[in-house]
Subunit: 197 residues, 2 copies
């Protein structure tokens, strides 16, 4: 499952709350060339790497997807995702819309979820209230938010983040529903092989 949405949608908070509430989900940690923000820890929030290292990962095919956002590069290490899937875990990627569509192309069974603040006013409020970014950065994020909204209709689901608990419950419903897809379902052997039906 891919979770995308504009900065200020509350992706980080919702992801953390979902992981707390529902076990068996592996949260992918992205590699990025951007500088750590205050409090961010290498290997926990992101793998912070140099541009040279990032380029090496791209060249070696080690990234499931990668994209440039505000001049910085972000990418998803493929191996960790494959390992988690092999262990039977659900995998959650918190990545931008460009990356999300790349994942869907490579893994058509990926489920793309767009997290949307309840209104534009709330988005602006959340972006300006964070207090960690410059006015210029906020303007850039607002501009980029509009670009991202343009991808909303290509996503499978849109979850409106009015309240964290409500958004998490909706994500859990989506996960449960998607496990009922015929192509994903494990059924009792007595029914025979689904692909023979």
């Amino acid at each position: 499952m891919v979770l995308s949405g504009p900065s200020g949608a509350g992706k980080g908070t919702v992801c953390r709350a979902l992981l707390e509430k529902q076990p068996g989900i592996h949260l992918s940690i992205s590699a990025t060339t951007r500088k750590p923000r205050a409090g961010e820890v290498d290997g926990v929030n992101y793998f912070f790497v140099s541009r040279e290292k990032f380029q090496q990962m791209v060249d070696a095919g080690e990234l499931l997807e990668w994209a440039e956002v505000y001049g910085n590069y972000y990418g998803t290490p493929l191996k960790a995702v494959k390992d988690a899937l092999a262990r039977g875990e659900d995998v959650l990627l918190e990545i931008d819309v460009q990356g999300g569509l790349q994942v869907k192309k490579k893994f058509p069974s990926a489920v793309l979820v767009f997290l949307l603040p309840p209104s534009r006013a709330v988005l602006v409020e959340r972006l300006t209230g964070r207090g960690t970014d410059s006015a210029e950065e906020i303007q850039r994020r607002l501009h980029w938010a509009n670009t991202e909204l343009g991808f909303l209709k290509r996503y499978d689901y849109v979850v409106i983040n009015r309240q964290v608990e409500e958004a998490v419950a909706t994500l859990q419903a989506i996960i449960l529903a998607e496990k009922c897809r015929p192509q994903r379902l494990k059924i009792d052997k007595s029914w025979g092989n689904l692909s023979d039906l």
Copy 2:
């Protein structure tokens, strides 16, 4: 939402439990030419009609879908469905797989759910335990169940009916998830018109 599945899957029980648990769902009542079973009430379980009346409804285009099952005809009166949708209600159809696929053809936004007993042994047990049908009828139903299973993969979701409460919770998750589809979602006006995005 269409709920289908072999006789003995527990569609009736699950439907009733879902309607009790979640308000705002309109259960469609089918017209049928089959004779009422003990305890069935006209206008509640089905509209029991003659073959002539049924044919008139077909000819007048009054049925959203209709199909023949075990030599009897079953059909969904279109007007009641349209009226409920116009009132903003969710509509639940408990119909057979042939009818389900007709509905999807006419309304691509319809959500098709296949209710499956946990195993073949449970299906047989439920069919023979009902005590209302002859051995011949049970054999026919088992045979028809195999035919219906062949349509499982063309359904959007498959819900395994291990326990009624669990199946109802899964149906509620599917309903919630499907309301988050971009084409169905109502978003705040401040985001602009979705179709312009």
